[in-house]
């Protein structure tokens, strides 16, 4: 345990109260007004909001396989810069995380980096091919204790495979995180199907291809009484189906990405593949429906779908480019811009959607804890009254594919604490250990 002590003065807590917070021995040692501790490093955070450390349920760390785009270490640094204290590493690495060996490797790399918790996600099917179940049990029993399984990037399309996977994970209260994309309706798809794709001559990715799978899977999970999580919901219709399912008591949770809360398919008119992402940017109507759903809890969490790509995968024709955009370092600012500054949510709800709920869904028991004495000191501090200009050349990620380059965003993440250790101080990353 870390012996460094920090005293946060004048902290605004998520519930709006102002207090001092003492961090010692890796935990929150005290919360009260006017704490004094001569041994503690004093940080006056007046005007800033202290949140439980952010938890991302959907991160692409690219290691093993594409260390030129991101590593567990560089992704951890990117996460710490964005206020995260836990990431969930998606399974679509090379080799695929479909066995205990790979998930243990990723888990260990996360521990070596030491900047936050890295929880590997296991593949549902071998090689993400959608045919045969991967070694789900072995991954669950490994030191990585995998609970979230996903073929993200590929939809678990075969309904029998999906049924079996949902049933099998009940053994250890796992969850299947489904990338909802009907493959036959999206062969070669490049962007949202609608008025813009019609003009641009880019092959459409219809909303129905997402909604059809969500509808099928909420019925399946209800039938087998398991647990389903829908990755990156993007459509108003998808929201409606989830709302219906929850009203019926079906055990489904859902996520939305920051970029789908802000950007629309109009951006494709530039043909700049920096805006190419899967699922694609949708219409203004969808964006508004997603915000409303996140506010009312139909969508449980924000997850970044942080997807680093090398320059050459984006400096090309749209249809040749890779899908995906960076997300970790801009997530909280985008949420403030779209949800808090618009009065749709307060900071307590931000804490719930970006920390408590994702930790609950992933089964990360030491993460997403309310700020309480004795809790692990996993904290993110944001100054909501300040703003910053996103510069792709200044990101901590190894890649530069942020769609927000040049945007002025509200909310500056100034400090991140992971188990009481400062990983971000005054906006600068702290070297915690010699990672590799």
């Amino acid at each position: 345990m870390n012996s460094q002590r920090y005293l946060l003065k004048n902290a605004s807590l998520p519930d709006g109260t102002v207090s001092d917070v003492l961090i010692a021995d890796g935990v929150i040692a005290s919360i009260s007004s006017a704490i004094s501790d001569p041994d503690a490093t004093l940080i006056d955070v007046k005007g800033s909001v202290v949140l439980p450390g952010l938890v991302d349920l959907h991160t692409h760390l690219r290691q093993p396989g594409r260390e030129d785009a991101e590593t567990v270490l560089s992704g951890s640094r990117s996460g710490a810069k964005g206020g995260f204290t836990a990431l969930s590493a998606m399974a679509n690495t090379s080799p695929v995380a479909d066995n205990a060996g790979v998930v243990e490797q990723v888990f260990r790399l996360g521990q070596e980096a030491g900047l936050l918790d890295v929880f590997p996600i296991g593949a549902v099917t071998q090689g993400l091919a959608g045919v045969a179940l991967s070694e789900i049990g072995a991954m669950a029993d490994s030191i990585a204790r995998v609970r979230v399984f996903s073929d993200d990037g590929n939809c678990v399309f075969d309904p029998m495979v999906m049924r079996r996977a949902l049933e099998y994970i009940k053994k250890f209260d796992g969850v299947i995180a489904q990338h909802a994309q009907e493959p036959r309706l999206t062969v070669g798809s490049q962007m949202n199907e609608g008025e813009v794709s019609a003009v641009l001559g880019l092959k459409g990715w219809p909303a129905i291809a997402e909604e059809a799978i969500i509808a099928r899977d909420v019925l399946l999970v209800d039938h087998v009484k398991s647990r389903l999580h829908i990755c990156h919901v993007t459509t108003a219709g998808g929201v409606e189906i989830i709302r219906w399912a929850k009203a019926r008591g079906i055990n489904v949770t859902a996520e939305v990405t920051p970029h789908h809360l802000l950007l629309t398919d109009e951006l494709a008119r530039s043909y700049d593949p920096i805006f190419k992402v899967n699922p694609p940017l949708r219409s203004e109507k969808d964006v508004m429906a997603l915000r409303e759903a996140l506010a009312d809890g139909t969508i449980d969490i924000v997850a970044t779908d942080h997807a680093p790509h090398t320059m050459e995968s984006k400096e090309c024709e749209w249809q040749e480019a890779s899908f995906g955009m960076l997300g970790l370092e801009t997530a909280l600012s985008i949420v403030q811009k779209t949800m808090v500054d618009t009065k749709l949510m307060n900071w307590a709800q931000v804490a719930e959607r970006l920390s408590t709920a994702p930790a609950r869904i992933g089964g990360y028991s030491q993460q997403g804890r309310n700020l309480a004495i004795g809790s692990s000191a996993n904290l993110a501090i944001i100054n909501p009254n300040s703003s910053w200009i996103v510069d792709r050349d200044l990101v901590a990620s190894k890649s530069r594919n942020t769609p927000f380059h040049g945007y002025e965003l509200p909310g500056v993440v100034t400090h991140t604490f992971f188990n009481g250790v400062a990983t971000l101080m005054d906006g600068a990353l702290v070297q915690v250990s010699e990672g590799r």
């Binding site: 641009l200 001559g201 092959k203 459409g204 043909y271 050459e312 024709e317």
Partner: protein, 315 residues
């Protein structure tokens, strides 16, 4: 005007001035000496990353008649087919001092990528990109229509045009919808519902699924090519059924108004979307479209590279 990427970049007066310049330049082409010295010393690269003999030859002839140096860079045997990136190709062309790049590419938006990147600073002319646009084709089509039916007007106000066939995959249709409506024509798209894009409702056109109900009411019937690869992708049951409902055959030719014309951007599938006797009939202006293509492309190069239209009567 620096690039020609999409018809949506043009104002009505710019479009008209391209057509007017083409009219002037056509006079040159009809003369004994077909060449103008205008672009002497300028380099134009034909970057064809997708096969297209006719468009390439048309641009080449246009550039040569304006005395430009022409470099042909076609996909087969070029670095693009060896996996060189568009960026590296552009940097190479920039290093070679290309004043303009005429690009044909299978990816929608590839010309826009060239023009809007910092990779090269010459003019970019879209000679057909994926299923997006083919602006020079639309300009030559508008030129042809104006010549036949314009009655001396600068634009196409009041002229009724049917565009028939695979609108979904057609860059010719997209550019023509934009240009013909910009010039005041009324456009009806005629196609099976499978071959119209979702979102077409927002276009300033009339939609019909029934060629027979439209054909007698228009001044121009523009047929689109049906690509072979559509046959196997469930857009229609088979070629014969497509031809029966959407082909322009001699029976349908008889339903057309006496003054109306038949157009096709080529290459034609004779017997599929257009019958041989229609293609070769007196109403067909298909061969003339090819000839007009050279004049219109001369006008595009002229305006982009000199920065001004050619005034009537000047030389």
């Amino acid at each position: 005007m620096r690039h020609l990427l999409s018809i949506s970049d043009l104002s009505k007066s710019q479009a008209v001035s391209i057509l007017d310049t083409a009219t002037e330049l056509a006079r040159v082409s009809d003369g004994a000496v077909k060449k103008l010295p205008t672009l002497r010393g300028r380099t134009i690269v034909n970057l064809f990353a997708e096969d297209s003999t006719r468009t390439r030859i048309s641009f080449e002839a246009a550039a040569k008649r304006l005395s430009a140096d022409v470099i042909n860079f076609s996909a087969k045997g070029s670095s693009l087919s060896k996996g060189e990136s568009l960026k590296d190709t552009a940097l190479t062309l920039q290093a070679m001092g290309a004043d303009a790049v005429v690009i044909r590419h299978s990816a929608s938006g590839a010309p826009a990528r060239l023009a809007n990147s910092s990779w090269m600073n010459g003019s970019v002319i879209n000679a057909g990109d994926g299923t997006h646009e083919h602006p020079s084709q639309a300009l030559l089509d508008a030129f042809t229509i104006r010549k036949h039916l314009g009655k001396g007007a600068p634009d196409l106000v009041g002229i009724r045009v049917a565009i028939v066939g695979d609108v979904l995959h057609s860059r010719v249709a997209r550019s023509n919808v934009l240009l013909l409506t910009l010039l005041g024509a009324h456009v009806t798209l005629v196609a099976p519902p499978t071959l119209l894009p979702v979102g077409v409702e927002s276009w300033p056109v009339t939609i019909s699924y029934d060629l027979d109900s439209v054909i007698g009411l228009v001044d121009v019937v523009m047929m689109l090519r049906v690509q072979q690869e559509r046959m196997s992708d469930l857009f229609f049951p088979n070629a014969r059924e497509y031809s029966r409902y959407f082909g322009l055959n001699s029976d349908r030719l008889k339903l057309m108004s006496p003054h109306s014309i038949v157009m096709h951007p080529g290459p034609m599938n004779r017997g599929l979307e257009i019958a041989a006797e229609v293609a070769d009939s007196a109403r067909s202006v298909i061969v003339e479209q090819v000839a007009n293509g050279v004049s219109v492309r001369m006008a595009i190069l002229y305006i982009l590279l000199t920065g001004q239209p050619l005034e009537a009567g000047s030389k």
